[in-house]
């Protein structure tokens, strides 16, 4: 996946989040999910915030999401940086399950709230950054 960001900081190597940044190796997005009550967790935690069960483990999601809101960053924080879309997407698996990400693979002025997008991965810094591309309509 072509990366629109020149400067993409590496995620910290936090044991709870390591699975998330490696999940894209097989092209699948995963979040932690409670094995007892089914609640999806993001950001990761070692206990389910709903039932406090410690029985949480990475589970795949479909990778389809809706753009909840976004911004087109225009300011060149990094010299030479193209404008890019910084977005919050929401997943159909659970109300309010959201991820901050980028929408790529289309002209930036075509991104809309409510748009259907699908996960893709940018492989950099020994991590797989989940980004989203518009669903073919």
């Amino acid at each position: 996946m072509q990366d629109p960001l020149l400067h993409r900081p590496a995620p910290s190597d936090d044991p709870l989040g390591r699975f998330f940044w490696q999940s894209g190796a097989d092209g699948v997005l995963r979040f932690l999910r409670c094995g007892d009550c089914g609640y999806w967790l993001h950001p990761p935690s070692s206990r389910c915030p709903q039932c406090l069960s410690a029985n949480v483990a990475p589970q795949p999601v479909s990778g389809r999401a809706t753009v909840h809101t976004f911004t087109i960053n225009v300011q060149p924080w990094t010299p030479g940086q193209e404008p890019y879309v910084y977005a919050i997407v929401e997943f159909p698996e659970q109300d309010g399950l959201r991820l901050t990400t980028n929408v790529v693979g289309c002209p930036i002025d075509e991104v809309r709230i409510g748009q259907q997008v699908r996960v893709a991965f940018v492989d950099r810094n020994d991590a797989y950054y989940p980004v989203f591309v518009p669903e073919a309509t």
Binding site: H68, T69, T71, T78, Y86, I88
Partner: protein, 395 residues
């Protein structure tokens, strides 16, 4: 003791250092200036000060000019004898330091607390702008969920809030722009203090350089150097203040919902909603009783969110409330950010707003004075942290 701790404390003094862009002075230098003036303003002497409280405190990263000197440096510089001190960033908004000071006074731990907030962000950024202090190689803590995706500046974290508000409620840039445009008009009445005082038209606002859609350069506050200091004293001291004490009617410190930049259920209200609800639960006064408001405007959208969260208009109705700007003018229903706020007055990180509320309640705001101001609201923060204070004129 009162049944609400905040009634045991008053704000007895306030002052600031020189404020400006790239002053090139040390944070301690600015702090000592403001502290000395605030102590005098409260009718006190150095030996009376037995507490210090600041936001964010010495453990914060001073590299960006975001943090002032830690309490211990101020204690030593002024040779104070303290029974209590605190510097912390984990508070309900920047004014959490004021709340903590009031708690310390109420519990009897100390009688007169020096509260200060010092920034040297303008000097730290130099000619390189904000980019000069951004961009560490590895993202940490909650930043790991934003920085790797180019969420570089707070403007990137808040622009999606503005976008969502516009999407849900039809809010327009013309309506949002009434905040910076009106605040600029107010700033012109405080030429000694404000950074920008030249008239700003709505047309000029709409034509300004975009930073992160829909927020343009004029939606972002101005980094400055400077210190604001205030003295929180026992209520018994109120009659002895030469310039008038200000009562703390209620605090809003609640942390409710998922306090993050992206997970809060309703992104168009965020932490401001919890703080606002909490504040109104601690007083019989209502939003219609407020004569003047100083709402945090690190970005214009934050002041808009506060307007709704505090109940000055309905949720989603800030756009029509702001339309034309009359409601928030000095003679409007809710005179707002009467010193120009941070958008024109400079980012004293909320403390300039507190100082202006005190000036209004003392009826010492000169050309900007709101007639007969008796009740003022101050809010700090926004996004995942928020705090609010309801202040009243001492009668």
């Amino acid at each position: 003791m009162s049944d609400k701790f905040e009634h045991d404390a008053v704000i007895s003094g306030v002052a600031r250092s020189a404020i400006g862009r790239r002053l090139g002075r040390s944070a301690l230098d600015l702090t000592v200036d403001a502290a000395g003036a605030a102590i005098a303003d409260a009718g006190l002497a150095r030996g009376d000060i037995d507490g210090i409280c600041t936001y964010p405190g010495g453990s914060a990263d001073v590299t960006f000019g975001y943090a002032g000197p830690p309490p211990q440096e101020v204690q030593d510089a002024l040779r104070l004898n303290l029974t209590w001190f605190q510097g912390s960033a984990e508070l309900p908004g920047q004014l959490g330091a004021v709340v903590a000071a009031a708690m310390a006074v109420s519990t009897g731990l100390c009688r007169h607390v020096l509260v200060y907030r010092t920034v040297t962000e303008s000097s730290a950024q130099g000619s390189g702008g904000r980019a000069a202090v951004l961009g560490s190689e590895r993202a940490h803590s909650y930043g790991v969920w934003s920085a790797p995706f180019g969420g570089t500046s707070p403007v990137n974290w808040l622009a999606p809030v503005a976008m969502r508000h516009m999407h849900e409620f039809g809010t327009t840039r013309e309506q949002l722009g009434q905040l910076p445009v009106t605040f600029r008009r107010h700033a012109a009445l405080d030429p000694e203090a404000a950074v920008f005082t030249a008239p700003l038209s709505l047309e000029a606002y709409l034509a300004a350089r975009m930073i992160s859609t829909p927020l343009c350069l004029l939606d972002c506050d101005v980094p400055v150097d400077g210190c604001t200091a205030l003295i929180v004293s026992t209520a018994a001291h109120a009659p002895n203040t030469p310039n008038g004490a200000v009562r703390i009617e209620a605090v809003g410190t609640a942390a409710r919902g998922r306090l993050s930049w992206d997970q809060y259920a309703d992104l168009t209200s965020m932490a401001a909603q919890g703080a606002s609800d909490h504040l109104w639960s601690r007083t019989d006064l209502r939003p219609t009783d407020v004569d003047v408001a100083q709402l945090y405007d690190g970005f214009s959208i934050l002041a808009l969110v506060w307007l709704e969260a505090l109940g000055f208009c309905g949720h989603g109705e800030a756009g029509p409330f702001l339309e034309g700007g009359a409601n928030i003018a000095l003679d409007g229903r809710l005179p707002l950010n009467t010193n120009g706020g941070q958008l024109s007055g400079g980012r004293l990180h909320g403390y300039g707003l507190i100082q202006e509320a005190i000036a209004q309640l003392r009826h010492a705001a000169g050309a900007r004075q709101v007639r007969d101001a008796e009740v003022a609201l101050v809010s700090n923060g926004g996004g995942p942290i928020a705090g609010a204070l309801l202040l009243t004129r001492d009668r």
